[in-house]
Every structure is written in structure tokens, then in C-alpha cells.
Amino acid sequence: MAFISSGYNPDKPMEDRITDIGPIKYDKFYPPVIANNKGKWLYHEILKPGVLVHVAESGDKVFTVRCGGARLMSTGLILEICDIADKHCDGYVRWTTRNNIEFMVDSEDKVEPLVQDLESRTFPAGSYKFPVGGTGAGVTNIVHTQGWVHCHTPATDASGPVKATMDALFDDFKDHRLPAQLRVSLACCLNMCGAVHCSDIAILGYHRKPPMLDHEYLDKMCEIPLAIAACPTAAIKPSKVESAKGDQLKSVAVKNSRCMFCGNCYTMCPAMPLADQEGDGIVLMAGGKVSNRISAPKFSKVVVAFIPNEPPLWQNTTKTIKKIVEAYAKDANKYERVGEWAERIGWERFFEKCELEFTHHLIDDFRDPAYYTWRQSTQFKF
């Protein structure tokens, strides 16, 4: 393959350089019906799962067909999305915050042909390319992180467990039977790229073994004071160790009993890896939300301390999630989010109804806020 120059001259990097121009301005990409009615929308309605209509003051309507997709996406699939947009939507398309793809048309008669087209497209092995759904009181697409496909700190994969979970929750992606919307998110480590900590159900990758110490390389690869300062529990201190050759090496020592496996030391020092097939796995959290609707936004709470990684299908993770979703669907009131339901019935009932075991791992013992999560009342349920 011959090198093709873009025009960039490495000897004169500043020549013709264009910088600091930012993204392309949003309004260059608005479909006409959006440009004409921006700020003048009156109301909307979900006609069926995955299909919305927004009505403007002018009487104009925009029909949106929402479909799911993996956020890990090839140019081949993006080009197919372009073909669909050209065929049905005058070349316009958008993505939602939760990795859904939205195709918009300006009249109702264009909706069914678009839906039919999207639903007819499948991969050779059978999965849908563009399943229509993800609206209203159901499950929508999962926001997630990179996982094993591209990240250096994960405690689980992302795309794999997301695919397995969405397969398990697929019926609710295409339905409106739940009491309210149910948002599932995944973060493959505690860094949590994304708002996983405020989701109805959060899938979190977690390490359980303290860092290994690559003494021979530690002082060469890392700034030791930064590695020490990185530890939130002060478990790391400087130490001297003797190498196999008898040299004195500057390194660190870790007080393992103080480690809470956050991996921040590894972020600062590549000679302190944590990843481990047996140690790593999944934490399930539940009851968070970001909306201010009825009750204030809430953090998700840890409801299952550990499930081993089970690639490729993560069957115990998906089974447990399904159990929570079914208990919620059966028991919650209309409009009640998972967290509001758990607070109304009490967390003791939540564990009972979801058939989850309560273990000591679920009692907070991290810093002052832990105290505020213990029960300071005689009001509880038997």
C-alpha cells in the first residue's frame, strides 16, 4: 500500500494549518421540517413503539422512526444507514443520546414503507440490523463504554454483555408494557464513562484483586509519588525491593486489606495491573434516574455484589436483570420508576420480590455517607 498524502507536510506542520474550528454547525444538518418549525413544536405522541409524531404550530408534522443499533458500528453499516436516509428521508438521519438511530419523514404515508424497510434488514446470521422500538414505557438502547474491544482498564466487556442483555430484554424494546421507561446502562470499570451510576439498572465491571506489582519496571514506567497519591484509601506506600539480580529497586507496597479495587493506581502507573479472569466480574445496581420527574434524580444502588464474567453470553447477569425487570413490571404503579418503586415498597421488599440475596457487601462502609444509608428508625417491614 502506497502512502497517500492528504496534503499535510510533516516538515512544515504549521503550513496551511486549520485548527480550533469546532464541530460543524448543527443547523447545516437539519431536515427542512425541523429547520422550519424549530422552537414551535406543540405536542408529540408515540403512535406505536418506535414511531413518534411531533406536531408544530404551523400544522407541520414530523414522523420519527426510532431503531436500535450497536454503538460499535462499521462504515459499511453507516453507509447502509445513508442509503436508507436517501431512500426515505431526503438524506437526513440522527442519533439519540442512547445510541438509537432516528429516521424522520414529513408525512404519515412515508412511515410504513420506512418501518417495513428497516425491519426487513437482517445480518446473515439472523439478527436485526435496525429493530424499531425504544420509546415510551419500555426498555431503550443501552448506553455503554468500550470494554475489551478497545480499553485498557476494563473489568468486563461492553459490547458482549450489552448484546446479551438486549437480546434478553428485546420484547420490552418493542413494547410499552412497563410502568415507566426503564434505562439500562453499562460501564466496564469504575471510571464509568457515561451516566451509569444513575440508571434504573446499571451493569458495572469491577475488579476484586489488588494490583500486581511489576517491581522491575515500576520505577521506570511510573512516577511513584503519583501512583501513591492516586490511591483514595492511602493503601500504597513507597518501598524498596531486591531484584532477582540483587539490585535495590525503588517500588511501592500495597496494603491489600485497604484496597477497594478502583484501579486508579493502574491509571497512573501501568506497572500495577489489576485485571484478572477470576477476580473480575459484574456488579448490578438498580433504582437510579436522572429525570426530575415527581422525585429528585437518584443514584443507582448496589443490589448484586458480584456475578462472574461469563463470556460470551453472560447468562447469570442477563437472568438476574430479567428477574428485576419482571418483578418491577408486575408490582410497580403506573409512572413509577424502579427506584421510586423500591423506595415505596421498601428495599427489604425489593430484595424479596426480586428474589435477590442480601449480603454484607451491600451495606455501605465507605466514608461518612455510609452512615446515612443505615436505618435510623424502627419503621421497617417484616
Binding site: 497517500i4 492528504s6 499535510y8 494549518r17 486549520i18 480550533d20 474550528i21 469546532g22 464541530p23 460543524i24 448543527y26 444538518f29 437539519y30 424549530k38 422552537g39 406543540l42 408529540h44 408515540i46 403512535l47 411531533h54 450497536a70 460499535l72 462499521s74 462504515t75 459499511g76 445513508c82 436516509a85 438524506g91 438521519v93 440522527r94 442519533w95 439519540t96 446473515p124 446470521a125 429493530p131 415510551g136 414505557a137 455503554h144 475489551w148 478497545h150 485498557h152 448484546k163 446479551a164 437480546d167 424494546f173 410499552h176 421507561q181 469504575l190 464509568m192 457515561g194 444513575c198 497519591a229 473480575d280 436522572v290 426530575n292 420527574r293 434524580p297 463470556p311 453470553l313 466514608r367
Partner: protein, 437 residues
């Protein structure tokens, strides 16, 4: 295929779109190369992605090395270095850097633009993307170091498109769909997001902060971009006057002519709509009631939670005196636990050129954080360490009961000397004249 992938293959069945199938199609497409592209990175790169991912499925551990400092000239962000820890087995992905491309507001696109992006990334990268990364950027997943400047040159020269943020700088700001297609948006999220993104390009590309900093823009308190949970400064649309009521439409909801909540509960028979049960009794401030067949709202007592508006979008509309509430300090758990945004500005107008937002909110807060923040300390952690009072001091905002859930329950107030009559300097001998030892 170059590598056997028995584990990944199991993720090709089931109804949800299979990323494995997509990657396999892409690998075949590159192998066939019907368009005759002169690939600038290995042709079998996608096969090696599948191979290395299969190995991780087998090992239960990642095979990507830690970091690596690469980038484009003059920028300190936008590119994340990535190297495989099994380069001999998977040479196609031995060097596999990420580029973050700043997404347009609302993530609206034309196929013309997307085709250009795809053409560039097929030629100079893996052809694998994230649509989109968690912060919002288009993610180009995997290319080699020599291609970084070439991709950047083509983006800026041929497409008018810049990179996004990474590292200790302003991360690419993100917005909800806002006024573009939502009747609840209390300000133009895309306009404010774009204006601040352009104003602070230097902060976005050249890391000068203690750590990352995120702006996110939600049009209303429903918070669809989760700004309140993950932005250092979260801009949430709100209003100060009355919810507008269409009494005829209220009656249509009561009569069952319009489905509640925009039809979002259509998958189950919840029984006939009850305005008392579903709206009035669920109002968190109990500021609504029916009177002579009309819905009444005591707006002064309303906290704008959106529930009634969400349930009856054709009957109830947001008010006209609109602006934003600003919350500060949200972050994910690392290190000292997750933090939700805390209210620092109950209401401010959000109209171009947004001078008040820039000069009285953003810039004083950045000055304080850059002066006092420790390495890798997020704004929310600095607020916890030095107190909300300190943030009020540096911004000059007037303390307001709206900023707290409740007043403090301990009296341990850090009085300042100038707040106490006569100051703190006293004469102990004069004290002893009145009080024996």
C-alpha cells in the same frame, strides 16, 4: 477469516443487532475491496479486532496496553493512544489509536457528510467507529500514528470538521435534541452548546485544567442527556411563570380521547385515565386541583418536575419566562464516590451572546478550580473539599435557600473575623479584670 471466533460467533444469534456480524461483514468487505481502496493501514485490521476480542473472551481480560502519548501537532487532546499487548498475533491492530471527532449538535447528519466521513475512515483507519462515544463524539476506532495528521488535515481542510476533547481539558460539550424537535425545551440547547464550544476551543484542545471538565445541556428537567449526573456544569432548562393550560384538551384527556403520556403506556391495559390518580395526586408539591371542571395550578408552589406536562402534553405547556438552572460538580464514582450536580444558579437567562453565563458563572469557576484544584480533582471534589460557600464567594452569587435541601443541622459555622463585631483580637488581661483565674 484469519482467526477462529467460536465464542464471538455465539453473539450472532438473537434478535438484537449483532456487532459481531457487523464486524465480520466489514472484514469481508475490506478483504474483497471492490472499490479498489488503497488502504493506509492493514487491510485485515478488522479480522485482527475480531481475533483480539475473541482472545479476551477466552482470557476474561483485556489485551490493550496502557496509553501512549500520540496526537496531532498543537493539540493536547482528541487522540487516545492505543497499542495491543499481543502485537505478533494481531499485527493489524498493533497500533490502534482512537480519534474523537466533535459531533454536531443534536447529532443530526446528512448522508452526504456521513459518506465523506466513511470514505476518509475506510482509507486511513479501521472503518470501525462508535456512533457515538459516551461523551458524544463520533469515535474513529483504530489507526496508526502516521495517519493521525493526515486524518486531521482532511477533516479540517476538506470537511470543516475539528477533533473533540480528551485528557485534562474541556470535553466535547453535548446537548439534547432541544427546540429542534421537542416542545418542552426551555432554551435553544444546540445554540448554547455550539456557542460555548466555539468560544472555548482553546480550553477544549489544549489541556490546562486539573482534570476533565464537561458541559452538558438539557432543555428541560426531564434531563435526557443526563447532565445532572455527569456534567461539571449542567445547564437545565426551566421557567418562572405559569404552566399554560388548555382546558379543552384537559377535558379530552379526562374523556379518554387523547392517550396519556403521549401514548407511552399503550402496551398494557391500565384502565381508564384518572386525572386525580395519574396527575393531581402524583404532583410532588400538591399544587394542582380541579375546580368547577377546570384544572387549576398554583404556579408559585410548582417545582417544575414535568410530570403533569409529560402526562398531558397537549393540555399543559411550559411557561414563557424561560431560562436555565445551572448545577455544578456532577461526576462518576471514581474516586470518592459519585456526585450529583448541586444547584448554584437557580435561574439565568440563556440568550445570545450568553455573556452573563460566560463571565459570571463559567470563567470565575474555572479561575478558582485552576488555582485551587489538585491534580486530577474534578470540580465537584473541590466543591466538597472547600465547600459550596467558597464557590459562592468566587462567583459572588447570593446564597439562596434554593441551593440546599435543608440548612445545616450542626452549628459549626466557620465565621470569618470580619463578620464578628469587634474582630477577634482581644486583651486577656482586660478579660481577667472581670473574671478571676
Amino acid at each position: 477469516m484469519k482467526h477462529e471466533t467460536p465464542l464471538l460467533d455465539q453473539l450472532e444469534s438473537g434478535p438484537w443487532p449483532s456487532f459481531v456480524s457487523d464486524l465480520k461483514q466489514q472484514a469481508e468487505k475490506r478483504a474483497k475491496n471492490e472499490e479498489g481502496i488503497e488502504f493506509q493501514i492493514p487491510q485485515d485490521v478488522v479480522e485482527d479486532i475480531l481475533g483480539v476480542l475473541e482472545l479476551s473472551f477466552k482470557d476474561g481480560e483485556t489485551h490493550w496496553k496502557h496509553g501512549g502519548i500520540v496526537g496531532v501537532f498543537g493539540y493536547g487532546g482528541g487522540v487516545i493512544g492505543r497499542y495491543c499487548d499481543q502485537p505478533e498475533k494481531f499485527p493489524g491492530v498493533a497500533h490502534f489509536h482512537t480519534m474523537r471527532v466533535a459531533q454536531p449538535g443534536g447529532k443530526f447528519y446528512t448522508s452526504e457528510y456521513l459518506r465523506k466521513i466513511c470514505k476518509l475512515w475506510d482509507l486511513r483507519g479501521s472503518g470501525i467507529t462508535n456512533m457515538h462515544g459516551s461523551t458524544g463524539d463520533i469515535i474513529f476506532l483504530g489507526t496508526t500514528t502516521p495517519q493521525l495528521e493526515e486524518v486531521f488535515y482532511e477533516l479540517t481542510h476538506n470537511m470543516g470538521q475539528d477533533l473533540g476533547g480528551s485528557g485534562s481539558n474541556l470535553r466535547t460539550p453535548a446537548d439534547c435534541i432541544g427546540e429542534a424537535r421537542c416542545e418542552w425545551s426551555c432554551y435553544d440547547t444546540q445554540a448554547l452548546c455550539y456557542d460555548l464550544t466555539q468560544e472555548y476551543q482553546d480550553e477544549l484542545h489544549r489541556p490546562a485544567f486539573p482534570y476533565k471538565f464537561k458541559f452538558k445541556f438539557d432543555g428541560c428537567p426531564n434531563c435526557c442527556v443526563a447532565s445532572i449526573a455527569r456534567a461539571d456544569l449542567s445547564f437545565v432548562g426551566t421557567w418562572r411563570d405559569d404552566i399554560k393550560i388548555d382546558q379543552e384538551a384537559v377535558q379530552a384527556y379526562i374523556g379518554g380521547e387523547i392517550p396519556p403520556n403521549g401514548g407511552s403506556h399503550s402496551g398494557r391495559d391500565w384502565g381508564p385515565f384518572s386525572i386525580n390518580k395519574e396527575v393531581i395526586n402524583l404532583c410532588p408539591t400538591k399544587c394542582m386541583w380541579m375546580e368547577d371542571g377546570k384544572l387549576m395550578i398554583d404556579s408559585k408552589e410548582c417545582t417544575r418536575c414535568m410530570h403533569c406536562i409529560n402526562v398531558m402534553p397537549r393540555a399543559l405547556r411550559i411557561g414563557d419566562d424561560r431560562g436555565v438552572s445551572i448545577l455544578a460538580g456532577a461526576k462518576a464514582p471514581i474516586l470518592d464516590g459519585a456526585q450529583m450536580g448541586s444547584l448554584i444558579v437557580p435561574f439565568i437567562k440563556a440568550e445570545p451572546p450568553y455573556t452573563e453565563i460566560k463571565e459570571t458563572v463559567i470563567e470565575p469557576i474555572w479561575d478558582w478550580w485552576m488555582e485551587e484544584g489538585k491534580n486530577r480533582e474534578r470540580l465537584g471534589e473541590l466543591m466538597k473539599r472547600q465547600g459550596l460557600q467558597r464557590l459562592l464567594e468566587v462567583t459572588g452569587f447570593t446564597p439562596d435557600p434554593r441551593m440546599v435541601q435543608e440548612p445545616r443541622s450542626n452549628p459549626y459555622i466557620f465565621w470569618k473575623e470580619d463578620e464578628v463585631d469587634g474582630g477577634w483580637e482581644r486583651d486577656v488581661d482586660a478579660f481577667r479584670e472581670k473574671h478571676q483565674r
